[in-house]
């Protein structure tokens, strides 16, 4: 028997969770603090871990280190000035935050978004989903010791950020989505560059798979590690790739289509047992599906206005200001006061890269929202950490936390 396989045999012979915690002289419990500044926590997350040897017996996440009161700030801003604020919540999925908020306000106003704007939104949302998954894949692989994945993923992310810069002038927190549509039509050359990216992306995803799928270390670290069944996940309110990894094909893009998602053909990747390997595979497969959606949206991009023609909500085109008194008045009213939204309450859920991102907006009839609340998927999903990693190795805690993909900006808001 070779040395390696003997090691593997001994490693597999260890059984976890057979003895009750904290009994006898050899079973002393140790409380360990991880974070808030620790590279493996993916942000300022602090974990209080109770260990027995190397085995996690209990874990308490402590959050709030990047709480900036964005929801409070929103109450003091005109509706269109809220968009840059909410974008900064979950800082990896800024288009989704803007979409949830704009969708909520559009529902309250009862305005129709033109088809071209809906398609442009889908293109940017799916690009953002790929970008978010790439950051997740790169940093998670880094946690498992695969250094080169990080560079490859960030190379493709760079292409996406360049596209964002082309369409909006910003690489991050673009403020591209507006109430009623998008701020500007895509510039010349965007479609060509996007088509090149769409052609390239599946090959790149194949390369990631080739690097990771047959990697003994990755497979050992992910397979059958920290699974959690569907019913527990549903009870905990977990949505998104984590729920799909456990076999539940719940995806709001299919279930409650918004922004023309019903026009596109795509599949929803699901896992079987809900372990870390399934979580990895589901997100990896979503890279292909998102690319497919972008391709279809690009091919079928309708002509027409990129933002609603309702001048009470959207700014008039620049050239009208020189000739039309009415346009000038609308412009002045929008820039100084903003638009007023009739009183009401709405909850607008969309599928973010991490699950159900719902925006609750209460309007009181004035030009500022009376309440903006984001149901952030990371905030809810974080509760699943403790049941997942109970009685697992501390090294697997790091891998599981990476596969959970929490974004602390979204958790703390």
């Amino acid at each position: 028997m070779s040395a390696t396989s003997d090691y593997r045999r001994r490693e597999e012979s260890i059984t976890l969770a057979t003895e009750s915690a904290g009994q006898g002289e050899t079973h002393e419990l140790l409380t360990l603090n991880i974070g808030p500044h620790h590279p493996a926590t993916h942000g300022v997350l602090r974990l209080l871990v109770t260990l027995e040897g190397e085995i996690v017996r209990d874990i308490k996440p402590i959050i709030g280190y990047v709480h900036t009161g964005i929801e409070k700030t929103c109450e003091d801003k005109a509706y269109w000035k809220v968009i840059p604020c909410v974008e900064r919540m979950d800082y990896l999925s800024y288009y989704f935050n803007a979409m949830a908020f704009c969708g909520a306000v559009e529902t309250l106003l009862g305005i129709e978004v033109p088809p071209r704007a809906q398609y442009l939104r889908v293109i940017h949302l799916e690009l953002n989903r790929i970008m978010s998954h790439l950051v997740w894949l790169g940093t998670s692989a880094l946690d498992l010791g695969a250094m080169s994945m990080f560079w490859y993923c960030f190379r493709e992310r760079e292409t996406i950020l360049d596209l964002f810069e082309m369409s909006s002038g910003q690489r991050m927190h673009t403020r591209y989505f507006q109430v009623g549509g998008v701020i500007e039509d895509i510039p010349q050359g965007f479609e060509k560059k996007l088509a090149a990216f769409v052609k390239d992306m599946p090959n790149r995803a194949d390369q990631y798979a080739a690097l990771l799928e047959q990697n003994e270390i990755v497979l050992q670290r992910l397979r059958n590690v920290c699974p959690l069944d569907e019913q527990t996940l549903l009870g905990l309110g977990v949505t998104g790739p984590l729920l799909r990894a456990a076999g539940n094909p719940w995806d709001l893009r299919k279930a409650e289509p918004y922004s023309s998602y019903d026009h596109f053909e795509f599949k929803i990747p699901v896992g079987t047992v809900g372990d870390n390997y399934d979580r990895f595979r589901v997100r990896h497969a979503e890279l292909y599906e998102s690319t497919k959606i972008i391709d279809q949206a690009l091919q079928g991009l309708p002509e027409g206005p990129h933002i609603t023609t309702d001048r009470k909500v959207a700014l008039p085109p620049r050239h009208e200001l020189a000739t039309s008194m009415e346009a000038l008045i609308h412009h002045f009213k929008l820039v100084t006061e903003g638009f007023r939204v009739p009183a009401g309450e709405v909850y607008y859920p969309i599928e973010s890269p991490r699950g159900e991102l719902g925006c609750f907006v209460r309007a009181d009839g004035s030009a500022k929202p009376a309440r903006v609340h984001m149901r952030d998927p990371s905030f809810v999903n974080l509760q699943a950490t403790a049941p997942m990693v109970k009685d697992a190795y501390i090294a697997d805690l790091i891998a599981t936390l990476a596969m959970l993909d929490p974004i602390l900006g979204g958790i703390d808001r």
């Binding site: 409070k72 700030t73 409650e256 309450e345 719902g358």
Partner: protein
């Protein structure tokens, strides 16, 4: 979403189970809301959960200042099989902001209830671990209430520590 008629049927059903549980219904922008009596909201949610709305999508608070009762706790329920949503709202007075916790129905309500407690001061009776979650433990006041001022928090930097509050 149930339509306006469907919402009335659900409200009837809830009233049949407990006569005083439903105070009213609102149907607006395609969103169905049941306004529940705050002391009976647990029963209402339990009934709706058994009826198919088994997923708690969101739980959040809202301050209706200057209306009375001021505080509101909103539950967004989801039926994943019928793809149907309904929301339940309970309004609470500031002087007795108590409501039953639903952590026993949905363990995932733990963090959201702590957030509502933290931001609005609503006490969830029966919650296993009701502490502040986003604000510091020793923080005083409930920042998301409408009468809590924006910028009411003085910011101290080390460079102006000594002169802070003195006139220039």
């Amino acid at each position: 979403m149930p339509d306006a008629t469907g919402l009335e049927l659900i409200a009837h059903e809830l009233r049949d189970a407990d006569g005083e549980s439903v105070l009213g219904t609102v149907f607006m922008h395609g969103r169905a809301t049941v306004i529940a009596e705050p002391h009976r909201v647990h029963g209402v949610l339990e009934h709706l959960k058994d009826r198919g709305y088994s997923f708690l999508a969101s739980l959040h608070g809202c301050d209706y200042y200057p209306e009375e009762p001021r505080l509101g706790v909103l539950y967004e329920l989801l039926d994943m099989h019928e793809v149907d949503r309904i929301s339940v709202k309970a309004r609470l007075h500031l002087d007795a902001p108590h409501i039953a916790s639903v952590v026993d129905l949905w363990p995932g309500a733990n963090h959201p209830e702590r957030e509502v407690y933290d931001m609005f001061g609503v006490v969830f009776d029966g919650h296993p671990d009701l502490r502040r979650i986003l604000m510091p433990e020793d923080y005083e006041g409930f920042p998301q209430r409408r009468d809590f001022p924006i910028g009411g928090e003085p910011v101290l930097f080390t460079y102006n520590e000594e002169n802070y509050g003195k006139s220039q």
